[in-house]
Symmetry: C2
DNA sequence: CCATGTGAAGGTATTCACAGCC
DNA sequence: GGCTGTGAATACCTTCACATGG
């Protein structure tokens, strides 16, 4: 299967495996079987093996996967093998939280710039990053920043995305609750937090009667 | 198709349509075609029609959908037709941002309680909600709170979920980057923000060469 | 004997194309 | 004429079962 394109759903699960491997490595183990990893991350063992089969042979039959080697392989596939520099636009409550969030490190992601239209915020430092005026967005390209997080109000989202695209950004994570469009060269993932919560009640039957699934992919 | 179970992917898109309809209604229109809504929310028209066909006839051929009526129908299907009360556990940076986040309102979701283990935070008010000691979690059932948001560190996530389940919560949105398990009666959606950002570089080819998709389902 | 990797089968979701209704 | 609703076709993803390798 080495010559097959990787399914989107697999790309969605790979960071989960990576997280599991990193935590496992912390516990001093050297090898892990698809079954152990499966138990740890909450995905079926055959699913893990199939997912990994799309991009290389990492396992040894009878032994399992070398944790270090597999983690490197996944990072390379996800193109996370080099540090990725990201910018944040919109330093409100959510933006501030993201600037202080330590979780990006694990994936080699680093928020190195922040922007906000509010002149009172410009110049202040949040999470170790100094807030700049959005007029400076044009400098992203020369600062080698290819990713951006948009945490501005709905009404400003599309204009912000347009500026980021013009500044050479190649991937955008959008928290604004609205559709945003961008050139085909730029990948946009929209994450509407309220919408995720809104999806829960559907799975809560009014009458006592249950569906099967417990955890969800996203 | 009225007697068919609703696909999970459809459930994931329904809040998108609802958001689009609410914004459209603000603009004073009474009817909308699947094509107009499609353009507005960024989903194909036939996809919208197919999705809606799973749970009722809302449209009029030649005219389109009555916005008010369709919004009600979607709300009912998602069981968002009654106000849903939610609790937040973990009032750190992210938790505070969520308490102040106005976006939940649109879906009839209301965060009415907040908890944090830090005694210095207990008693303070954030986003109009007073922070309580987690020892009070047992009162959720009698306060008619069926949803919860978990925004605690990874290490505390599973214990928090266990407490919430014991307190009668039926749906949980987990922001901690870890697998959490719960009784089948409880629906858990895990949302790992760093993981979403980590998925972006994969779609950014090193060499100039492009894939087709631009926006993502989430 | 144990665990991987993968064809093949089965299931789910997307896309198409058009009949039917206003 | 315009727009919905939906069977049928297609594409995609998951699950199984087992041959293969250490």
């Amino acid at each position: 299967m080495r010559y097959h394109r990787i399914p989107d759903e697999t790309v969605r699960r790979l960071p989960v495996y990576l997280r599991g491997l990193i935590v496992s490595a912390d516990q001093g183990r050297e090898h892990i079987s698809s079954q152990s990893l499966a138990d740890f991350v909450g995905v079926d063992a055959w699913q893990i093996r199939k997912d990994l089969s799309y991009f290389g042979d990492f396992g040894t039959p009878g032994v399992g996967y070398n944790i270090e080697r597999l983690a490197r392989g996944i990072k390379k596939t996800l193109r996370l093998d080099t540090i990725r520099r990201a910018a944040l636009v919109g330093v409100g409550d959510l933006g501030s939280a993201l600037l202080s969030y330590p979780g990006f490190r694990m994936y080699g992601l680093d928020i190195v710039a922040a922007f906000d239209v509010d002149p009172k915020k410009v110049g202040k430092t949040v999470g170790g990053v100094e807030i700049e005026d959005p007029a400076q967005l044009g400098t992203l390209r020369q600062r080698d920043i290819s990713l951006a997080i948009v945490a501005v109000p709905r009404a400003a989202a599309q204009a912000t995305v347009d500026q980021l695209v013009a500044a050479g950004v190649r991937g955008i994570l959008n928290f604004a609750p609205s559709k945003v469009t961008a050139s085909k060269r730029v990948k946009v993932i929209t994450l509407d937090i309220a919408m995720e919560l809104a999806r829960l009640p559907y799975y809560i039957p009014r009458v006592e009667q249950m569906s099967e699934t417990t955890e969800d992919k996203g």
